[in-house]
């Protein structure tokens, strides 16, 4: 703490005491110079301000840590010494005090003033000690609170990382299996799929452990994923993708859509031989973002939810990530909007990326 804080606080205190004495003096009709009265009080408390600051600087942490024994054997003597030293300096500053007395030596005056003010000085000292210890307790409390908050953030991040880990390998190995299968029948198709997987891995690795990404980037990933699914379900599913132009820069949790789309395929669209419809949409309602995935594969009743299968893991995963990121600010729903049409909708607060997008784009000859 800055010395000015100590000095100004204690001088203010001295002013209050001086005013009090001035009023008392008036009431009792004594005559005392206003100047000497204020000077005496101000110097007294100025000295205390400086002493307290020195005490804080040199002995602050020690006082905060001191146990009872320490207080009795060390702080108590220090309080007596400090009180006497303060009084000695003050007496040296005001040789004319006490007023209206025959000439007194320095030691006489010191004895006179100590007799009147020693206890007051001790009280001031011990108030300062109490204050220091109070500050110590408060700081400790704040540190603990900050540590607890940080811990909960770290825990949440670890959970999210673990949840994302569940997503990627699942998808990765399924795709590798598809490529392995295609290799035997259609080399060109296997080659294309391998290139697509390479691109997907490249942007996933680039993205790293970032938790929120622009909807634009998420949609790019979705498009790549859809292109790979299209290869598996050639012509059987009509894919529609629509993003409100204002939302390209909106922030969404990374990999929030892919599990929903995978789910639409495995539990709906894969059962159809033709005329499948997959409609993915990002819309805006005031300050909320809505993402929805609709498929016409099969109704809700035809696929009893089983926790053991992929649906359970994928959707539970999305739900816990939304809960961790947004708390009560999100919604998640699965509805049968028409016969055999199932729509998964999630909404959460709309936020935009503050940092400018880094792009590679250059124009050249």
């Amino acid at each position: 703490m800055h010395p000015a804080i100590f000095v100004s606080a204690s001088v203010l205190l001295g002013t209050l005491f001086a005013l009090q004495e001035w009023i008392t003096v008036h009431l009792w009709s004594y005559h005392i110079g206003l100047r000497i009265l204020f000077a005496a009080w101000w110097v007294q408390y100025f000295l205390w301000g400086v002493l307290c600051w020195l005490l804080w600087r040199w002995c602050g942490p020690w006082i905060q840590r001191a146990n009872v024994l320490c207080i009795f054997t060390q702080v108590l003597p220090l309080s007596i010494v400090t009180s006497v030293v303060e009084e000695m300096i003050w007496v040296a500053c005001f040789p004319q005090l006490p007023l209206n007395r025959p000439h007194m030596t320095y030691w006489h005056r010191l004895a006179f003033h100590l007799d009147a003010e020693f206890i007051d000085n001790l009280v001031v000292f011990w108030c300062a000690v109490a204050l220091f210890r109070g500050i110590g307790y408060y700081q400790k409390f704040r540190e603990k609170e900050a540590a607890a908050a940080q811990l909960s953030v770290q825990l949440a991040q670890a959970q999210i990382a673990a949840l994302r880990m569940q997503l990627n390998p699942h998808f990765l190995f399924n795709t590798m299996n598809s490529i392995s299968s295609l290799m035997r029948t259609d080399i060109a198709a296997a080659d294309t799929m391998l290139e697509q997987l390479g691109s997907l891995l490249r942007i996933t690795l680039e993205r790293g452990e970032v938790q929120f990404i622009r909807l634009n980037d998420e949609m790019e990933f979705v498009e790549m994923y859809l292109a790979m699914q299209e290869r598996r379900f050639t012509g059987r599913v009509h894919q529609q993708l629509w993003v409100h132009p204002e939302l390209h820069d909106a922030l969404v949790p990374a990999m929030i859509l892919q599990p929903l789309i995978e789910n639409a395929y495995t539990h709906g669209l894969s059962r159809l031989d033709s005329n499948g419809l997959l409609h993915i949409e990002a819309t805006r309602e005031d300050s909320r973002l809505t993402l929805s995935v609709l498929n016409n594969g099969a109704g809700l009743n035809s696929s009893p939810p089983k926790v053991s299968d992929g649906q359970g893991v994928g959707l539970a995963n999305i739900k816990s990530r939304l809960q961790l990121h947004y708390g009560d600010q999100h919604t998640f729903s699965i509805r049968e909007v028409a016969t055999d049409q199932v729509e998964v909708t999630i909404t959460f607060p709309l936020q935009f990326s503050a940092s400018p997008a880094e792009t590679l784009t250059r124009f050249g000859a």
């Binding site: 290139e195 490249r202 942007i203 498009e223 790549m224 590679l360 784009t361 050249g364 000859a365």
Partner: protein
């Protein structure tokens, strides 16, 4: 015939290129380099038209090889470069040294084919111009001829002549080629500024059209104008821009 050299330190990578290039009748492979020094010697000895170049190779990287070659030979004799690499971080450098294309491994035969097509065009144009003793235009073109960007995990050196039309989406522009659409974070006015007005026309606040792909301008029963492209794509057109396009059509 395009005489080409393959440079990659991995034998399987060279084998893949060799096999895929069998389907490109105009390419003749005149040598394969497994290291930087081998590649430099090969290029000096055979003076190929095209070099398929990996970037990370033992000893020197691909750009060092190009530096060595261009220091010792006349720029007209330098081969065209198609980079084949697993790293996307060199794309801008490759674009700046006028590489033909930048193929990220693993790439497909289609992707290689389009790179070869482009190399073919460039080499053909250069040979034609060489006859007129005018290899490089004296003044760099005033407008962009190609754009580099990342899209869906790939690096594209897209010639602007491949762009059919561009649609605005707030802070983004959707660039539509024959087969694909790419979302770029660019404003329409910036793009309009960069593109040659002889080739591209702004037909609406939110659309720029490549005139090469323009089929007709229709007046809808409602009295509004529509631009129709050769592939049947319809784009709404502002009244204020109508005069510009009819003027252009009358002129051509």
């Amino acid at each position: 015939m395009i005489r080409a050299i393959l440079a990659d330190d991995e034998v399987l990578a060279r084998q893949k290129l060799r096999q895929l290039l069998r389907d490109e009748p105009e390419i003749e492979i005149v040598g394969e380099g497994a290291s930087a020094s081998e590649t430099i010697d090969l290029v000096r000895a055979t003076e190929p038209d095209l070099l398929f170049l990996d970037i990370r190779m033992p000893g020197m990287d691909g750009f060092d090889i190009i530096g060595k070659l261009s220091a010792s030979s006349d720029p007209a004799a330098m081969p065209r470069i198609i980079f084949t690499t697993a790293h996307d971080s060199y794309a801008l450098r490759a674009f700046e040294i006028h590489a033909v294309d930048y193929l990220l491994k693993p790439f497909t035969s289609e992707r290689l084919h389009s790179a070869v097509q482009r190399a073919h065009e460039e080499i053909y144009t250069a040979k034609q111009n060489a006859g007129r003793n005018n290899l490089w235009p004296q003044n760099p073109p005033a407008y962009t001829t190609r754009i580099v960007f990342k899209s869906r995990g790939r690096i594209l050196f897209l010639p602007v002549s491949d762009i059919r039309w561009i649609g605005a989406e707030e802070n983004y522009a959707r660039i539509c080629t024959g087969a694909e659409k790419h979302l770029l974070r660019e404003t329409m006015s910036h793009l309009e500024e960069k593109l040659d007005p002889q080739m591209f026309l702004r037909v609406h606040r939110s659309a720029i059209v490549n005139l090469q792909y323009l089929k007709e301008v229709r007046t809808e029963p409602s009295g509004e104008f529509t631009v129709v492209l050769v592939d049947g794509q319809k784009i709404a057109m502002s009244r204020s821009f109508h005069a510009r396009i009819t003027e252009w059509m009358a002129g051509s």
